[in-house]
Point group: C2
């Protein structure tokens, strides 16, 4: 059922643009979904994309533009005049309109807003530009169906028909009192089953979930997920109904957050994807690699301090990469579980309890791994004292790595910093250094050198 | 606006259970959302949870049970008789009912299904148990509003009222022909604005997205995300309407998939969370750590082969952890980008092109890092030949690591294996070994030893 963008279609479109066959293009793309138009805009070159946006109906292109990656959209908008951009914005829901305007430079922003004809739309956009992007206000749209408690079912249906023209999908009908304060919602089922003269105040449901316009977007996502809400109304401090947030925006938000955390854990610091340029990818990757380099140089310095020991006990040096790798692996595991738990509001109990649990876990894992390593070194090298010192070090290093991996994200979270930054290269690098230091120190101690 | 589960409330509930104050419990929990009931069931002990499930209305508890973690639910269901479980299932939508039944042992499954009174529900569940869990059939529910094209608007509204009683939320009204084949959908807007004698065939929208019952769940998620669908009808080979999938199930699916990929990248092989027991966590973490141990032992063996070189050129050994760590970091970065790109259907072009791009990227990053390392080693150790051999090795190792990190997930994906398995410890470990091997080999070559 999915639309498949063939290279034949792209070639056909390019050819039509080349000969400026506007009618042919319009016919060809008339029935195409905006998400597919977006894919087409992404595949053709910049001039061709501009041509298509100018040619096709804004109703179709405005939503397609919102589906594009930010960098592609930026290039496209650069080619359009403020009047043309305003034309696209007239067709957008307020939430999309504001997202797009927020991406423009300040002076272009003003020029574009000035060109918007619909005064109500303009005022809504100006209001919404004030909200933080990562708050409920930044996610909401002004488009919704609102009815007054004093209306009858007949009046309500009449009003709904009018309002519904502007609202893509009627999720819920919100009921307000004379001060425009949210007091409840109306189920379509009740509306269908009530006589036309019934007052709304008699049939509305007073129990309604809502969020405050300043609530963090993350909390909104959690609330909607937990209660399986498909739309949630947004109110101000006085409970006045300002807008609503729909589940499709939350789906995008959840996906983006998950992608960001995943990339952070892999040591990629910006929102990039495989199709980005090598330079963009380098900017996202190189800083973390420098951190790793710094860690490696630190490890070298530490090992340099034990140079004599290592030279006389070569067997110890053979196992430094093993110790460093295990410290990194355990640290990443512990931190990932905590970061994910924090994201899902799943982490209960005190930091102390959490560290204790991780310590027990690390002791269990560490003991199993240390015993295996002990026998391996003993059998292969035939030196029980080396086997003992290497495996005991591994045991201690695993415990310390687990504790660091648990503590750092919890600490960052407590300080209001996104704990996801602690996963990946950061934990690996610091655990490499700690691991090697502990290893050499313990080995020296046990071997009495 | 979110319900906050206080320890006072839990204590109060436990006290009421203790004195068997059923009326008090019912009053206290009467208005509580099923998602919050689930949190309560999670906090009290097993016997208390069983007590609550027996006491409270199945309408409330059935949905709460579905919100529980699988292991908590399993323990709870163990306490209930097949008849009691069937009572909960009567209240569930078919999709939840099937998910829960699928978790039971075979003989209990049969006993429970036999106890379901509603014959239609029973038949639906039996039918749905045949679909693969990760297919559209496994996600869909049978509950939907379907109207025939031959009906009038008035008849349609009458039928909708009846059907809507069984359907929690009316997303869309699907129109079928006399063979029960999906031919379109009905917008509530059109229904509100049409006269009662209008035929459905005159007002329905023939353009409707749908999925086949055997389509993979992943494809359904992508389709619904791309086209911002809130519900999608499911049909069989003959286009007969079987059920529908709603966006809230897809939200859960997306979240689960993201969590799984994240954990895989961190070397955690089962779906665990912070609250799981130490034993469960160990089972999820230890296998990957053993893999790391194996890798470390491999690295030790390789270094053992170069023992003489290392003994005479101690400076080389100081940088083995750096080389290993950088190989791991680059490998994780490359593989993460590819895995995410594959998950988002974002990877275009051939494997060859992809590898070429990664190679160029790795050369750029590698050169920058190698130059920095060269000057550092030169200045700090004063030996230009060591500085050259170490930094040139780093350059080569980074390129190889990037290529391995790109190639393995692409290769696994081509072979139909989930590429996410290639991220994390797997890539880190293999790149550690390759990195050290390449490093020592090149150093030996350059230093002529």
């Amino acid at each position: 059922m999915q639309f498949l963008l063939s290279s034949e279609l792209i070639d056909q479109i390019k050819a039509l643009i080349n000969v400026k066959d506007d009618k042919g293009l319009q016919e060809l793309l008339h029935d195409v979904h905006h998400a597919d138009i977006a894919e087409i805009l992404d595949e053709v070159n910049g001039d061709e994309a501009t041509y298509l946006v100018r040619l096709l109906d804004s109703e179709q292109t405005s939503e397609a533009i919102m589906e594009l990656d930010e960098d592609v959209r930026e290039k496209l908008l650069d080619q359009l005049t403020p009047l043309e951009i305003a034309g696209e914005i007239e067709e957008m829901d307020t939430d999309d309109a504001v997202d797009m305007i927020a991406e423009l430079d300040d002076d272009i922003q003003r020029a574009v807003i000035d060109q918007i004809e619909d005064e109500e739309h303009k005022a809504d956009i100006r209001e919404m530009l004030q909200y933080d992007e990562n708050s409920a206000g930044g996610l909401m749209a002004k488009e919704l169906v609102r009815v007054k408690e004093t209306w009858t079912v007949a009046g309500c249906v009449r009003e709904m028909r009018r309002q519904a023209e502007e609202v893509t999908r009627v999720h819920s009908v919100y009921v307000v009192n004379k001060n425009d304060e949210l007091i409840g919602r109306l189920s379509l089922k009740d509306l269908l089953t009530s006589t036309t003269t019934t007052k709304i105040s008699e049939i509305y449901i007073p129990k309604v979930d809502f969020v405050n316009v300043n609530d963090p977007a993350e909390d909104v996502a959690k609330l909607m997920q937990k209660y399986d809400l498909e739309a949630v109304p947004v109110v101000d401090e006085n409970k006045r109904l300002l807008g609503r947030i729909t589940i499709d925006d939350i789906v995008d938000f959840i996906k983006d957050e998950a992608d960001k955390d995943y990339q952070m854990a892999a040591g990629i610091s910006q929102d990039v994807d495989t199709e980005d340029s090598i330079l963009t990818l380098t900017r996202a990757r190189l800083p973390w690699l420098f951190l790793g380099l710094l860690g490696g140089v630190g490890a070298a310095a530490i090992m340099g301090g034990f140079e004599e020991v290592l030279q006389n006990h070569v067997i110890l040096l053979l196992f430094t990469p093993l110790i460093a790798a295990m410290a990194g692996n355990v640290g990443v595991q512990s931190s990932a579980i905590i970061v994910q738990g924090l994201a899902n509001d799943d982490v209960k109990g005190s930091i102390g309890n959490r560290l204790l649990k991780e310590m027990l876990l690390a002791m269990l894992n560490g003991a199993a791994l240390a015993i295996v390593l002990f026998f391996f070194v003993w059998v292969s090298e035939g030196a029980v004292n080396y086997a003992a010192s290497i495996s005991i070090s591994l045991f201690v290093v695993i415990i310390v790595a687990g504790i660091i991996g648990t503590f750092i994200p919890l600490f960052l979270h407590k300080r209001g910093i996104d704990p996801a930054i602690a996963t990946g290269p950061f934990i690996t690098t610091s655990n490499d250094i700690f691991g090697i230091l502990i290893y050499l120190y313990i080995a020296k101690l046990i071997l009495g050198i």
